[in-house]
Symmetry: C2
Subunit: 241 residues, 2 copies
């Protein structure tokens, strides 16, 4: 079983994805938001790349009688006119039962859409990393962790979450793991920092930015390990459990 990591959504090539399971990761905050929304009973999340695409999709779904929310951010902030932002903590107070969420974010939705071409696309974050590892262990296919990155740059929190999934996978499977050097670095780094993820990741560029714009509680929540046991999957344009 081979494991590798792609550091930025832009770097994925369809050739690399073929025949593999992709795990799309955007810890701060898209994939954490998606997992949280589905856990709260939301029917599905539809990732779209642009604001225009989100608004058009909402009209279509409303016309066919669905309950729909638009959600997303630009520069971390809620998009004007949208129903929701991209804050998993803010979802706590919203009733999402059977709703469809149309989500557009700066990095995460791109990582998911760019993973098309893989055999299956799972949605991962710290909150469900052990659950993702369990699914990977039961399927035995090669894996590529697709880190969203941040505005085209390396994202430490996504890299570390890929390391976390590798760490738990090693505990869950008896299969030999053939891991790339990048994956070995991520796994070891997770092993060293798992006791204080928040301390380590709170100092990252993205962590500091989110605190500045008032989302400290999101950082705390996104850095919590294994509070969720669901592993959403993206197929045919929709993310579902």
């Amino acid at each position: 079983m081979k494991l590798d990591i792609v550091l930025r959504a832009e770097d994925i090539s369809p050739k690399e994805l073929k025949g593999k399971t992709a795990v799309a990761i955007d810890v701060f905050r898209a994939t954490t938001t998606i997992i949280t929304a589905l856990e709260k009973g939301c029917r599905s999340v539809i990732p779209v790349v642009s604001i225009e695409e989100a608004e058009k999709k909402k009209e279509e779904l409303l016309a066919s009688g669905h309950g729909v929310f638009t959600a997303g951010e630009r520069k971390g902030l809620k998009i004007p006119g949208f129903d929701l932002g991209n804050s998993p903590q803010e979802l706590r107070d919203v009733s999402l039962k059977d709703k469809i969420i149309i989500l557009t974010t700066s990095n995460g939705t791109r990582a998911i859409r760019n993973s098309e071409g893989a055999d299956r696309i799972l949605i991962g974050a710290f909150i469900n990393c052990r659950a993702v590892a369990e699914v990977l262990a039961s399927k035995y296919g090669d894996v590529i962790f697709v880190c969203a990155g941040r505005l085209g740059e390396f994202s430490l929190e996504d890299f570390l979450a890929a390391g976390a999934m590798t760490y738990y996978l090693r505990k869950k499977t008896e299969q030999a793991l053939e891991i790339s050097d990048l994956t070995a670095a991520a796994e070891k780094l997770f092993e060293c920092t798992k006791g204080d993820l928040l301390g380590f990741l709170g100092k990252t560029k993205h962590g500091k930015y989110l605190k500045e714009i008032g989302y400290s509680r999101d950082i705390d929540y996104c850095c919590t390990l294994n509070t969720s046991s669901i592993v959403p999957e993206y197929a045919e344009g929709e993310i579902k459990i």
Copy 2:
């Protein structure tokens, strides 16, 4: 004082280098070889990209009365017709006093040449990482660690050496360090693995390959910390102390 890492020699842009100190790193084995050669009294090392360039340069230097060795590798093995390979351990038995070495390797010499555009280019490896940190601490300029990578891929040993230099720099300077997320990852990873570098790096793709082709002793040597106190510098086509 800002610190950043470039993961592969191919990824450097002249814009990023401007006004900075570059540290070229190819732990397995080019920069370790260069430091070792200069420590043994070699007059200078001239990094060239192609075999043809090396042979042409040798003829020129011989004609002007210099003592010259060609050195280098392709696929880790000594280049046919060359005087030396790229093995720091093999240099131990060779008299290098006042000799000029013309070196061409698969990754390292490219990292050095591609760093042209920086204000100064230092040569770093594990064997001199504390010494590099001391030089960086005394100069106060922004730093970019240029990892050679391996055949266009991520190289864990180079990344970790950049982390080692950051780790020692933090101990040597009172300046505030403004480090990128990638540098933070490398520094933390070094902190966690410095007690058993050989165990961690011996399992890398490059480490395993070098063992397979008979260079286990090089791996041991290249993973040794701070045995050298020299910091070679590349300027005007030559590397000197």
